[in-house]
Amino acid sequence: MLALLIAGLLCASPQGLSDADCKKLHDSLKPPAAELWRDIPWKVSLVEAQNLAAKEKKALFIWSMDGNPLGCG
């Protein structure tokens, strides 16, 4: 029991976030692996997307926001 207590104290930061807390928290903040909107092969370069659309003769769908939809809140 004493050994466990000492190990726990050694793993914790002075402020109290233990390695186990950190890993759990870090994992919980990963974006979900399966998000429908992320299945769409988005491009973030307008030139690249337009060039691909032109080559493949496809229409261009633009999701234009304040803050990039792939990298903002």
Binding site: Q15, C22, S64, G71
Partner: protein
């Protein structure tokens, strides 16, 4: 073909990419390119608008796409070139730098959601990236944490961006920035607060840095603690009173298109962001 952009940059760009985007906007209800042009557009490769909506409900978007695609006649189109990208709105990671992916979440403190949309925001994960300069990367390899990196992390990433774009913290709002790197472990605490204390975040941080062959191969970091208030557009549906905010950083894999997005903080002023 699907494109996700931050219109704040694109509508301002004085280059062929900006010209192309504005041409599409001017055919839509968002035809004032001096203000926000956010929305969902469908266009031909040569820039003819086929459809537009600024309603993000699946039904509205599906209907817009259906009607727009019905009008679309595939044809030859010139490839857009951008030989002289506007340097004021095209930023690049400095050579030898690093990209960290940063996520955030409000863990507790919300009142009951009044509708599904508010509930969505209450459970959302904020996303951003943190760019490191070569010197900061090299310092990490040596086992050191540069003050500039600590400051950038605090100002631009220790924020609640789960409901949109908050303002970064100012240098004056950094009340405590105590972070150390020792034996591959980052630890410490940070206190951020505006003048009145109506917006604040006090967090503990802990993380791991691993290095191999002169490069950082792993950087996992978490921050957690009590926060208050919000800023900018993120005040909508913000938690009332104290809430728990967590932030996590990890090395970008480079495999995700989102890794190419410029840091949100660069919007303030890129040279200032990277200093």
């Amino acid at each position: 073909m699907s494109l996700a952009i931050d219109q704040w940059y694109t509508r301002r760009q004085k280059d062929s990419e900006g010209d192309y985007y504005r041409k599409i906007c001017l055919q839509s209800p968002q035809n004032n390119v001096n203000s926000t042009t956010q929305g969902l557009y469908l266009a031909t490769p040569d820039g003819k608008l086929l459809g537009f909506t600024n309603n993000r409900s699946p039904e509205w978007v599906r209907e817009m796409l259906k009607k727009g695609l019905a009008k679309y006649e595939p044809a030859e189109a010139a490839l857009l070139e951008n030989k002289n990208p506007d340097p004021n709105f095209n930023y690049h990671l400095p050579e030898g730098g690093l990209i960290l992916t940063v996520t955030s979440k409000v863990l507790s403190g919300y009142q009951a959601a009044v509708n599904a949309e508010v509930g969505f925001f209450q459970n959302s994960i904020g996303r951003d990236v943190l760019w490191l300069r070569k010197e900061e990367h090299q310092a990490l390899v040596r086992g050191e944490l540069m003050e500039s990196l600590k400051r950038r992390l605090a100002m631009y990433n220790l924020i609640d961006n789960t409901r949109g774009e908050p303002h970064p913290w100012t240098v004056e709002e950094i009340k405590k920035l105590d972070l150390t790197l020792k034996n591959g472990v980052i630890s410490g605490s940070v206190h951020l607060s505006n003048e009145t204390g109506s917006r604040s975040y006090t967090c503990e941080l802990r993380g791991t840095v691993e290095v191999k062959d002169g490069k950082v191969t792993r950087l996992d970091l978490v921050a957690k603690g009590p926060a208050r208030g919000a800023s900018g557009c993120t005040t909508n549906s913000m938690p009332k009173g104290e809430f728990t905010l967590a932030v996590a950083c990890r090395l970008a894999t480079g495999q995700d298109e989102a890794d190419k997005v410029m840091p949100q903080g660069a919007k303030s002023w890129f040279p200032d962001y990277m200093r």
